[in-house]
Symmetry: D2
Subunit: 288 residues, 4 copies
């Protein structure tokens, strides 16, 4: 991966698999002066679906972005494509949701600051005030929305107003210990990334490390996925595991898990920010 | 690990955790002329249980094995220990159960022949005749017990008679596609090792790679466990995973899984043969 | 990966990076009725080199393979491409070189027989007679070429005559304990795959597990690479490692290494057979 | 691992392998009222050396620590043991050396603050002022010792005076880009942990990720080791690797490496703090 060039754009395409697709898109981009830097594609033959990610250098574009999008739109219509294009100079705006546990928050903010991920963290939302000092250190506005059974609906409304006002592109649940309502989730399809602290679909629901300890597994895992209305059932973006043994107590599993959670979540967020992920049929295509 | 010395014995001990345990056992073995080569122990503080594996060189034993066992028995009574001792010169007798799929069978027989595992394969039992040529190549007697719903009980009786006649110490279900009855399993507690082709407890039951494909996981796994009356619920001995992606079709997952299954099963069988495993509370302690 | 369709072809291309490349090739194939099933590409911006692998369905080709190759050749000339095309119905012919150690040989032959890799094993060559029974079991002709310092040159000449007579596409050194001469290696550029039993470039040369033991490493590895005239210096195709500890003796490292060697070698061979590898600048591009 | 009990002590022992060792030590500790919580041992049969780690509960000690140490000393003399005992209530004092790169520093300080490692960070030493804000955030004194060829010897003297004044138990080189002199290193035998950003012994010396990129490896690694006078040659404590491919540029390898470096270094430091490591013959025994 080369560092993101501001003149670069990334095109993501999904459509029914058809002859001539690849040539038509390549021709369309080339015709407008776009130089294809990288193209990766995948066909799910069972589902009859085609997926493509194309990185284009727009530095010598003959026309402007609107015209280019028009040209893509024409090909798209012909081949029944869903598509989106992301420009490297339009940096994504990210909101982070947290509760009291801080390792994923630290990890993401340090990575963002080091330039490892390209995005602007516009807000940290929490149901507890505990992590405000972290937000302060990184100069990211911190908003507390305490949640009780009674206030949940109202607080979610306020949260969504804030997210809308901030024009948020991506929400990251960085060990946020509340379940978002179905309405909330539905408003951000494939734009909310959650980290679940187990190797899904094993140990869904609460206290997964305790479940893993009871079951006596020899590996513990973590799973980053897009949030859907069914808790812990959304499309999986990334998973990883670490070896454990009879010597590991629950606190040991929690410790090992923290390392996993932050690396797995960071990979998923980075891939989303680099427009590498296409979700379909409760799965993901992740272009490397 | 040093190669097994014929004068060696391995003592496995489980008991409630009590002061003075370790010193008493060490003293008892030392007093009879046993030289402790290796000792590994574990305490499950939550369960209040103590576990120990001791390898002893009996080359300069003052007395005989019976007296030594008597001495261990005395300490054991004092501390309420369950224990067993295995002598390196009493090679374990193993029966392999298979169906049609051959990769685990090949793998185990090649490892046994290469000296990687110390055991005598005394029989291969199958519900299909397909793998007889493999048995022939390694000169292991092959027995076919076709199973239908109607004949299952009777066939299991015959199988158990054969196992008893052969004085079998360990049964390995090397991708045996039949479920053993509860009676059968209960007759060999912690002496039947099964390989399940998923990362348990994810994807229990049939066709786990198809389940994994549908769920879109990013890792597939395999699990070796002792068989219990609850299918796929027995104490886990070993697990491992391999990375997969959207590019992997079900046949790809099957292929990757075969590599996992054979290495995971081989590790579990070797550890059992080396008396490294203590099962308790539906878990295992595996001494390295 | 879908199972290889006999009507399929794989095109591998390397050339200086230039605008319009991708569109020109896609257009050329499409124009002759080839349907692009899969295309993967890579640009090494530092080296200014472009690499592409395209899988094409030729089932509805307007013309014949010669014409198609002519069309590719025209684009190739325009863009200064080196290219080759492999047809799925032209199964590759493989020769296996072994000495006395058998685990890689067993592994490859079992995988080939199971259909996991598409190739025809046309000969097994060895400097020792020991592994003839394995060859017999799989019905592959076995040829012994004993090597001494004095006979080496003459024996290599005879080996190369045999390989030529058999029209061999790929040579696999499956733990062959002789060093091939520079002439031999040069005659099969990027067509000889060797498995080195360490994580190269650590522990080059002989007895790498002994070296690893002495150095006290915490992981041991294996490396599959194309053979070049500089021993253990050729382009790396695949590597993997396994964890070890102070408890592992040299025989333990050898045992763990055997598992690595066979899986790493098998992956490298399969990728070569599927035309996924492009070697350049002493490296490889391996398209997934 | 149970959380460290303040009444706990850890005894580490090395000696020539002799009969009766284990029983004598166990008896000695038991006789003074020490309760053995955990004992792990290892024999390097080739080197004829015995290693043991014993965790003892001193809560019901009949005498005091001096008497206990006297008793251990007697057994030690009899068996020619080198030994040391660490008390859980004597928290180790750690100095961190850094330059400009901050990921290992952040990682260690966050882990220490979260209670994941038990130690007191008494000073951060650097040859550059850049990371002072990190030190400030965690309230750890920050000392700048700029190093030039001319000032190096004098600055090292000042650094060692500071370390002595602070009674430092362990020095962690958390990506410190200066080579310590032989005298300095010799003053802290097996008490300086360095993180090298490659899988040693591959890619010793400078710019290892660039070396790895040039060589085209398929895995990159990191190695934590005790510093010795031979740079990058000290006893290895821990290593790990992560997969890479032709798609990874040098900045990608650097990014992947940062994740490795911090987890590998953190494990090594934690194990040292928990008195799990015995170094000998340029290797380590790491008790799990």
């Amino acid at each position: 991966m080369a560092p993101a060039d501001p003149q670069c754009a990334t095109l993501l395409v999904t459509c029914p698999d058809r002859r001539g697709l690849v040539a038509a898109l390549a021709q369309g981009l080339h015709g407008h002066g776009g130089n294809i830097l990288d193209a990766d594609q995948h066909t799910d033959t069972g589902a009859g679906q085609f997926f493509q990610r194309i990185r284009v250098d727009l530095g010598e574009l003959h026309s402007d972005r609107r015209s280019l999008e028009g040209a893509i739109g024409e090909v798209a219509e012909r081949f029944d494509m869903r598509w989106r294009v992301a420009y490297a100079d339009e940096v994504k705006r990210v909101a982070l949701f947290v509760s009291k546990v801080d390792h994923c928050l630290w990890d993401l903010l340090l990575r963002i600051r080091s330039g490892e991920m390209s995005c602007t963290p516009v807000a940290i939302l929490s149901n507890h005030p505990d992590l405000e000092p972290v937000a302060e250190f990184f100069d990211v506005p911190f908003h507390v929305f305490p949640i009780t059974k009674e206030t949940k609906a109202a607080q979610e409304t306020r949260e969504r107003e804030l997210l809308e006002a901030l024009d948020v592109d991506l929400i990251v649940l960085a060990r946020y210990m509340q379940v978002l309502s179905g309405d909330f989730v539905a408003a951000y399809p494939n734009r909310i990334i959650n980290i679940h602290h187990s190797f899904l679909p094993a140990f869904m629901g609460g206290r997964p490390y305790h479940q893993a300890f009871e079951r006596g597994v020899k590996l513990v895992g973590a799973t980053a996925h897009y949030a859907t209305t069914d808790l812990d059932e959304g499309p999986i973006i990334e998973q990883d595991v670490v070896r454990c043994s009879h010597r590991d107590s629950v606190p040991d599993l929690l410790r090992k898990g923290r390392d996993l959670e932050r690396t797995v979540l960071a990979r998923a967020v980075r891939w989303h920010l680099e427009d590498r992920i296409l979700a379909y049929a409760n799965k993901t295509v992740v272009f490397s």
